[in-house]
Symmetry: C2
């Protein structure tokens, strides 16, 4: 019998993209598709593959008969409810940070470590955070060929990484500053945002304006100068790639982009690597689109690739002073491959078990 | 007699900031201050230190009697006219890229290598490019203490690095996209910018929208995957710091910020370095402001520091996997310390020679 799929968090920013992905898939292996959300959103009607479905409230019995439950909800909701889904017989595929570094939970990117889904003693499979995911297809492909040893990363992260709240905040701030010729004096952007009635204290961007600005803070503060997003990039990259001693330094910065994370990657390998050999690796990977004609002004940018499923790679060059090292630029839609798409791909691969 | 100062390019984006700097200096060592610009701008009246002055046209005789001539003009104008000023008896302090890598032209940052001004066989002293300058005070101070060996840089560069044209383009694009809820589908931002009648082909940002976007391209394409700005960061850092074999990799990216460049810096040293010892070095350097309380959401951002003279440093942390390595975030106003201020400081130091 075709398996039953549940989507928990069906009405959130990532959940909405997930429904778009399901609707646009050529075919799906599911019997029933059940939409689950907070009691507040229960009763809402959403059309999935031509059929109107009613969102049901998150409750233990919502998982009865579910084979695979995808979770696109905050960490604490996943931490509580993924085990409930498992207890009711489902496999949980979780997009939150609740289980990613749990030794008994595989962290899976289908292009990189698809086999890991089988080893799930807790019945839970985790999806990496969106910043790590944005570069993982590219790094996984290079690692197979050249053996990655070191990574220095700087991110250009979109507002939607902070959910619908982040999107709304950025749009509100942009409206507050547009047409005002601001940005030449300290405090002007901040004052304009506050004058428009927007709260910076409640903003998901660390109390700092994001319009006409960049904010070197993502996630929560974890001590010794590091924010959670920077540590996730390190720890999740090591786990997904299976390189426990991979050297990683990341600086995570929000930029006034709505959707699509970009990363400047400085990657060192054990084996010799050239631009030509890296291009071949990228071209051979189905989920990567190489846009690398800098002499013609062609490279990936968020505005040109957002909404797409692939990882977009460009600006590939051999580091001039570092042996076996490439510098390159990656863009990936943080709501698609960075979140919903990867989760869905994991669920889709699991469907063959049923 | 008090020396005569000339400002060539008095009506441009950097020239305008230069006049602001001169006007706000507590005292100035100059007798006459002469404003020079293209014949198109000649005759314009500008108030300098309370006195209305008339802009004169760039011509050989404009340099008669000038002791120090500051050039804030495009490379080709400097290349032609700085030697003319020198032939007429002036010392030229040039903010363009025309002479920076000339072995007979010192490249000077007063906090780092002030003594180099004396060694100027061509009578020309060069000012570094704004991206390099934005981090040079911080790196120079750390290098003196810990001996810099490697640098991996990712930049978040403001539109005004491309002059008034860059500022106008960004403002125009922001007005075109504001209030439209764009940024979730590829091509939407591009279409909105073009629908507003703005040319992307003529934009200084590589034919790519900058609003709601980031653009991994700065300067002109130089081959092997590198853009000029990235090579300048490498070559100018080596020359200013006096480390000919410094290992450098830079990725230069434009962001939708009007003014103030930011940089994510990953710096490796020959000697042991801690956050505490780096903080001490930054606090001891008069031109650096340390804003580093991440636990309270305090770090430098362009919107909060633009218009200021110092180099702002924050997010200082010890790299977890790289020995003797710091990661940190720097912001500097690219039109002030990044251009006009540094040039002026060099000229001011030279004034004591007269």
């Amino acid at each position: 019998m075709a398996p039953t799929l549940a989507l928990v968090g069906a009405t959130g920013a990532v959940g909405t993209v997930m429904i778009d992905i399901i609707n646009n898939r050529e075919s799906v292996p599911w019997g029933e598709i059940r939409l689950i959300a907070s009691p507040r959103s229960a009763g809402k009607k959403i059309t999935v593959r031509g059929e109107e479905r009613t969102v049901v409230a998150l409750a233990p019995e919502a998982f009865d008969g579910v084979d695979i439950a995808m979770f696109d909800v905050p960490d604490e909701v996943s931490a509580e409810w993924a085990p409930v889904a498992v207890a009711r017989g489902a496999v949980a595929v979780d997009n939150s940070g609740a289980f990613r570094m749990d030794d008994e939970v595989p962290l899976v990117v289908p292009e990189v470590n698809p086999g890991k889904v089988a080893d799930r003693p807790k019945g839970i499979i985790a999806n990496p955070n969106c910043t790590t995911l944005s570069m993982m297809a590219a790094l996984g492909a290079l690692h197979r060929e050249f053996q990655l040893t070191e990574l220095v990363i700087a991110s250009y992260q979109a507002a939607s990484g902070a959910g619908q709240e982040g999107i709304d905040q950025l749009y509100g701030e942009l409206d507050a500053v547009a047409g005002k010729g601001l940005g030449a004096r300290a405090g002007d952007v901040r004052a304009a945002v506050e004058a428009a009635g927007l709260s910076l204290a409640d903003s998901p961007f660390a109390g700092t304006p994001l319009a006409l600005n960049v904010v070197p803070s993502a996630g929560s503060y974890k001590g010794d100068g590091w924010f959670s997003e920077e540590l996730k990039v390190r720890n999740e990259s090591r786990k997904i790639l299976g390189i426990p001693d991979l050297k990683v330094s990341a600086t995570c910065v929000r930029v006034p982009v709505v959707t699509t994370h970009s990363l400047a990657v400085h990657a060192t390998f054990a084996r010799e690597v050239t631009v030509e050999s890296a291009h071949k690796v990228f071209e051979a990977q189905q989920s990567i689109v190489l846009i690398d004609e800098p002499e013609r002004g062609r490279f990936p940018t968020p505005a040109d690739v957002v909404g797409g499923d692939p990882t977009y790679v460009g600006r590939v060059r051999q580091a001039l002073d570092f042996p076996n090292t490439l510098d390159f630029f990656v863009c990936g839609d943080n709501l698609r491959k960075g979140a919903a798409l990867n989760t869905y791909e994991v669920a889709e691969n699991l469907a063959t078990e049923f």
